[in-house]
Symmetry: C2
Subunit: 248 residues, 2 copies
Amino acid sequence: MAQRQLAFPQVECADCPIRHRAVCARCETDELEQLEAIKYYRNYEAGQTIVWAGDKMDFVASVVHGVAALTQTMEDGRRQMVGLLLPSDFLGRPNRDRAAYDVTATTDLQLCCFRRTPFQDLLANTPHVSQRLLEMTLDELDAAREWMLLLGRKTAREKIASFLSIIARRDATLQQRPTAGEVAFDLPLTREAMADYLGLTLETVSRQMSSLKKDGVIRLEGKRHIVIPDFDLLMDETGDDADGGVLA
Amino acid sequence: MAQRQLAFPQVECADCPIRHRAVCARCETDELEQLEAIKYYRNYEAGQTIVWAGDKMDFVASVVHGVAALTQTMEDGRRQMVGLLLPSDFLGRPNRDRAAYDVTATTDLQLCCFRRTPFQDLLANTPHVSQRLLEMTLDELDAAREWMLLLGRKTAREKIASFLSIIARRDATLQQRPTAGEVAFDLPLTREAMADYLGLTLETVSRQMSSLKKDGVIRLEGKRHIVIPDFDLLMDETGDDADGGVLA
DNA sequence: CGCTAGCTTGACATTCTTCAACCGGAGTGG
DNA sequence: CCACTCCGGTTGAAGAATGTCAAGCTAGCG
């Protein structure tokens, strides 16, 4: 396969699109300089594996552009996605040098990597980084618990609707647009990856997508571009209560 | 109902059974004194609700004795447990004063509570508390991801076996006994609560328990006391690979 | 022009849920 | 002391949701 050239630029922290949402969000100028000193960019193509579970990982990273997935695989091949990292999300665990999950790029991806050891030193010394990391980890835990409700109790149709609403929302905040009325976005996942996210088979995903299309809840323009004519209509299908199931 | 008297004693930190596993694990004597100053004990009976989702929560806490469950409920009554807190686990989220989930005591329970505001100050000032909290939160996230694999991809039988092995293991480490050969413990959950944990109905839980009993994987002495004649046999039923699916 | 990867659709099999009956022990009131 | 009831648990029969297996479609690419 010819190495396609990825177009993500390498920027100064000051011009970084995730400057105010990632681990570095709270950093003062001097802390930022320390981070800048140990950072480097890596790009991946859609479909590439970043690390396998059990592999040594000598860096941690922020997702700058694109989407990465954490996946667990059972011996017999059953797979469950357990993390979906969008821009500003953090990859890797401090004080653990081996990956616990397979990590793959589900779209073209740019990571802002920090060498592990200096990053850990930074964590120990600059409170703004570790405070922000704690906050982000707590947010991820909340998201994981929402996801557990989806996996354990929602129907296939509710799972799909919930997934679409999650992507729509995160995409909208990133683009600084509202999630109301008509909303449109590209799916960052194949049907198979969606199935791994939702604990379904890809056939069930496909059928439920067709069903939502038939009922006018979504429109499909190509296989990956989704148009939601009325976001409230989609929300009605998620099984969540009106406020989106977000912390009361 | 006559108020039964709970027998959990209130001890000094130095004599605390979870001294070296809870948020306070890394604290030096002076930090411990600060914690001691803002702590107080609360006891709950099995079945009691500690807070409802959305309620104001003016404390955070460590579980000292017993078991607490975090549960999410959908409008139509479907319920999914999203957290199971055993001794040394942490309850509550710093910088959020409302509970995100229903919290109930599934057994008689003792909490070591810290008043929210002083605890948050402590977090900001004593690195040993916030470092430990980050570590515990990362562990919980790992546990949640293991749980997601269970919810999304395991069969009912595998779910039950996995649950039993989790409880057996945590019980064993608490009692400082090995998990090998014959292992015995009490279930801290009703069949219904197990169903909420596993994303099943209570009938399916009951049937699979009977099936594991019939096949000699477990023995039941009463409804709640479980004897596992051969722990490896149980592990074979969990669907995890030999090393227990723990981080490779 | 034909191949392949990603996706859709159909027919059938399986797992789990639903609804219902029943069991047994603990607590309660007559 | 006994009957009653309630709660947690078990078991059965029937049905629904989802998975499995298989065929076929379409867009993009060599």
